[in-house]
Symmetry: D2
């Protein structure tokens, strides 16, 4: 089988998740190409080498640009903070490498536009680009989209989406890069709000047209971090300013007429990773909470009302998206599986010569929504996306 050489840039939280995906995907899914975990790029030689060893990459380098020149690298998998995405992705695409880029696609609309253009140029040459909105690949959300697409919800009236976390409710939690606008672009908005923007647009097959929102930083000064990765870190004695939002809320109108209510926060005490989506339509409703990720609630409004009710569909049947390749019914999946599914779809699209979704155009569309929310929060009025 033809090999598909992968270079991964960044090797911490997402680095571990993506490595697991590359490693595991071919063991459970029939892939048309054999992914090879060729090289990992980090900034520090020692840490990169240790990571490559731990995560199972053949080699480690400290200059990500070097991987673009290698013939054994066909894919660049970007797992670094948002400020680096545009530069790496555009360079990789221009070098003829397929790109899987973590979300949010960029830190600004300008960057995202440039990336989408690069992706379009690349596509003309058969080079593919995809954004890592991994929650699309949670089977329950795939099923949600199917139900909407098949008309089981009828005309959509309401979308209610929240992404609730609590990892910095403690004012002593340190200033990781996620709290630094220069690195992260925004706070809760881009980090987790981006996911519910993408996921709801995906489920509805519709786009957000206008928004009105507000953003808030509850704790404006925090200890600097001596070391950090993913969501954890160690606090130092010095402090610095938090330059991003702790929470972002907005109302939205979809092009198709649905009303949306969105909230992303890192201050929802007791909610660890509660990505929740509820959709109400003229014929039915559905509800999802990532804290119970193998379940989709579905209300069929066409049933006799004496026996109608939200059904707790355990999304582990062979006919559910992706599930047939894993375990028997009732043997649930975990967080990382969505990343494996992402890699499966990516590899298949590359092999088939199609554009894997979410495309960079989709990523740009999300970016425009985030920007409209920020603009709205500043102006206090509705903004078109």
């Amino acid at each position: 089988m033809t090999e598909l050489g992968i270079a991964m840039i960044g090797h911490a939280f997402m680095g571990a998740a993506h490595s697991q995906a590359w490693r595991v995907a071919p063991r459970f899914f029939d892939l048309p190409l054999r992914p090879v975990m060729s090289v990992l790029a980090g900034r520090d030689a020692g840490r990169a080498a240790a990571a490559a060893d731990r995560l199972g990459w053949a080699e480690a380098v400290t200059d990500w640009r070097s991987v673009l020149e290698r013939d054994d690298v066909h894919v660049v998998d970007i797992c670094t903070p948002g400020d680096t995405h545009a530069e790496i992705a555009i360079a990789a695409l221009d070098a003829g490498k397929h790109v899987l880029c973590e979300k949010p696609m960029a830190n600004t609309v300008a960057e995202a536009v440039a990336m989408a253009e690069a992706a379009e140029r690349a596509a003309a040459r058969g080079v593919r680009a995809m954004v890592g909105f991994s929650y699309r690949r949670v089977p329950a959300l795939g099923l949600a989209r199917d139900l909407v697409a098949r008309g089981r919800l009828g005309r959509i009236h309401h979308v209610r989406a929240q992404y609730l976390q609590d990892w910095i409710v403690d004012p002593a939690a340190p200033l990781s890069w996620r709290l630094d606008k220069a690195k992260a672009g925004s706070g809760a908005l881009g980090d987790i709000g981006a996911h519910i923007v993408d996921a709801t647009q995906f489920i509805l097959g519709d786009t957000i047209r206008e928004v009105v929102g507000t953003m808030e930083t509850f704790v404006t000064e925090r200890p600097l971090a001596t070391e950090h990765s993913g969501l954890s870190g160690t606090a130092s004695d010095e402090t610095g300013p938090v330059t991003v939002d702790d929470a972002a809320l907005f109302l939205a109108r979809f092009a198709g007429g649905a009303l949306g209510s969105f909230e992303a926060t890192r201050f929802a005490n007791g909610r660890k990773n509660a990505l929740r989506i509820e959709v109400n339509g003229s014929a039915g409703s559905l509800a999802f909470d990532f804290e119970d990720m193998n379940v989709l609630q579905f209300f069929d409004g066409t049933e006799d009302s004496a026996v109608a009710g939200f059904r707790r569909i355990v999304v582990t049947e062979p006919e559910h998206p992706y599930v047939g390749s894993w375990w028997p019914a009732g043997h649930g999946l975990g967080y990382e599986h969505a990343f494996t599914h992402q890699v499966v779809d990516f590899v298949r699209a590359v092999a088939e010569g199609t554009d894997p979704a979410p495309t960079f155009a989709d990523g740009l569309r999300v970016q425009r929504v985030l920007a409209a929310v920020e603009d709205s929060a500043a102006s206090g009025t509705w903004h078109q996306v």
Copy 2:
């Protein structure tokens, strides 16, 4: 409208629940007879008078026998401990009074046989008798029975029934009459186990044929109670022996082939009144928990498995049993409503000249199951009912 004079014996926990039922039923339901809360009987004149005033009875007496002689009394409503049921019920029936008798119907099978015979004699004269298995009148359980009767579950394979409470998990909880075999007949078995025996037989439209079980008294000595009513009381300095079971568990086989697992306990820490029933059939399943009493879970096994799941039916639709007389959908009922429904069905049966269910024959059938469990617990083998 013709009046139906009621005499109630006993006036504490059930006294309050039954009073509420008599008071409220005609306000929400069309009754063919107008219940009149004529007289309440207690043992202590002062307390009985106070109770009559509080609960809304026209009069109070201390000798329950006196009410049997009154022409303005047509119904005797027995709300006293189990040791008194047989004597009062038989006397009342023989005096031509309709009887609503609290559960468990009696403390022994012998008493229950005598009561069932008295009921049969009475029925021949148009006098009615009913046992107060109130949970039958929770709308969700009425719906459960309907679903089984309409074949929505197919052939029944499994019944799983638990009645879990924790009100005496504290060893300092006093020795109320419920812990005294002479008064109560048995402990958890007759007090709450009787409910799940009746409710499952009711839902299935089937009877338990044989059982094997065990009983346990975890705390064998407790402070005497200086005063008590319902589930609460005050402890004294002296102690006495607990003469009933704290918990009773048994396996059962129904006549129709279903396998049952039953458990009644007062030691399930944190479970306040968790009457839970799950039924699995060849075509579907249902599940109920009284801690969420307005909900019935229903699994329709004939659905496409991609969208099948336990449905959380909120049993508050107008077409659900009894519900149409109350509030709009979603405005749930409480504990006491089942007693109101009980009174409604009782009054209607009296007016129509039919036997209100559960009849004393049904009560006897439950009693035989309880006795078989006790026998089995003693012998260690299966016992026929």
Copy 3:
């Protein structure tokens, strides 16, 4: 005991709920005055008489003004649509009658101001006024307020409140008075949105300072209703325009700094009466859903994280608000009990000579929030309350 004569105006949905409350309150609670259900006022003589008989009122009249002149009437209980509240309440207060007025207090801020002024005048003469925001008296929400007041949640960051119903998702549902701006003032906003505005302000002990919102009418033309009461009605062949909102959504900022997200809709398919409130604070969180009304979820963020989690508090313990007067733990209450508690507090306040909450000033505060939402929906910008 001194009697407290009640006159009730309107006798359909709320009429039944209030009647039940007046009837039942003295049976379970020690009241300093004995409520007497003296007279009911309706517009149609026949229907009023039938209602009085069914609901248990001594007398029926067709002119509500007549009750203001009666010496045996001390309380006027207003259970009519919003367009009548101001006129009746002001007349009653000026006539020296205590007033219990259903929510929303009025249809406009101007009316509400006049009512609050009348209440202030009346209070000076010992005459009391209260608004029927009944959900305040659901024990779980009383406990929620207690927890916030006792600092168990710390500084409040987030409030998430939804009131979701689906009773007009069917476009064939008829045009009841609730869909007529002249009668109802607004649609989902005033009918159910008012409840979550009041309830969140109550729980937080804080007020909403500014809002930005949007409103939507999904179905703009409906069959006229030939007859209707509460939430149900019969459709005729003619149609007419819907003049109110089907859904209203808004973001809010509380004076104390909390961010709020509110949504009221009658188009949430499958949600029957889902009044949901979630509050996140620096020390903990709580969550409530009226579809499981006897439960409050509480997260104590000060606990060791290995054993922390949202606790499902079954709010049926004797020490919970109002509960001790009812049944043993685990024997839940229903929809109507909040109305009974409302009457209990009202009667006690009248007897004690204090102002029962929510006062007309509270009602006005809610009205101002509703008006700010409407203004914001029209202008597309934030509005101060």
Copy 4:
């Protein structure tokens, strides 16, 4: 790092789960030895080779005995049906190979005794043996055991354990080896009942002393399977007898005094893999359902009853068993992770020279319980374990 060569026997359902565990464990956990997926043994050369390729094993053989002679094999991992366990395990241990053997350990007590003896002999030579009761390694159940061990539940009164599946509720489901007594030893009892026996003994740190039970085969004749693996298969036109139980129920008494109620069934329509355990003690309770596997419900009975309630602990905190090596809080694990944890503990024990639990002695103890249930089902009386 020293290598630990693995040979896996059997390569279907458990083969895939164990392969994933060997592959993934060293990527997330610090292991003292480096597992090498050396060789896989199957019966058919073609299928074994395909499996080795798919699952990532260096080599495939058709004679499992051959692997015992290889120096590069240090561990034999048995993933075949129960009838083969004793022979393979004893041979492997006697050949000086560490053994990880799937559950139930054997098909009979006699086999299990021989295996336990072999394990004891082997231990004397530093060779280790472990049984694959994988659910012990679900973090929530590890936490459950911790809570019991730390006394947070006090004296244990009740254990309620169910393992509910529905994969053969359809009478047309084919006769896989799991329905053949010669291969499987028993049906639901050994396949899934064994798990709840082990898990409850593990959580309590106690053993079952006596049982009374019953077993049932609802569908006694089924189509033969043309092909099958794990829980799925293809039906042929011929039929054959089902020689095992579809369901097994029993009551139990633990040595420490707790009462247990157990049920294992493949006929619980709608329940896919509902391994449920509830434990009630004098100081608290806990509840678990594998359909929500990242959650443990815990009731702390020592709390003020006004705020006590079952806590939904999301068992994804760094301090929870195994979790710290995976993802941030709230990013749940799936079915396969328990197998990874099993491998981690196994490798560590091998390196440290300690006996990994559950030992073969533990496996034998479970086997004795299963045998006692079968004996009891036959005799209708209680049996000592």
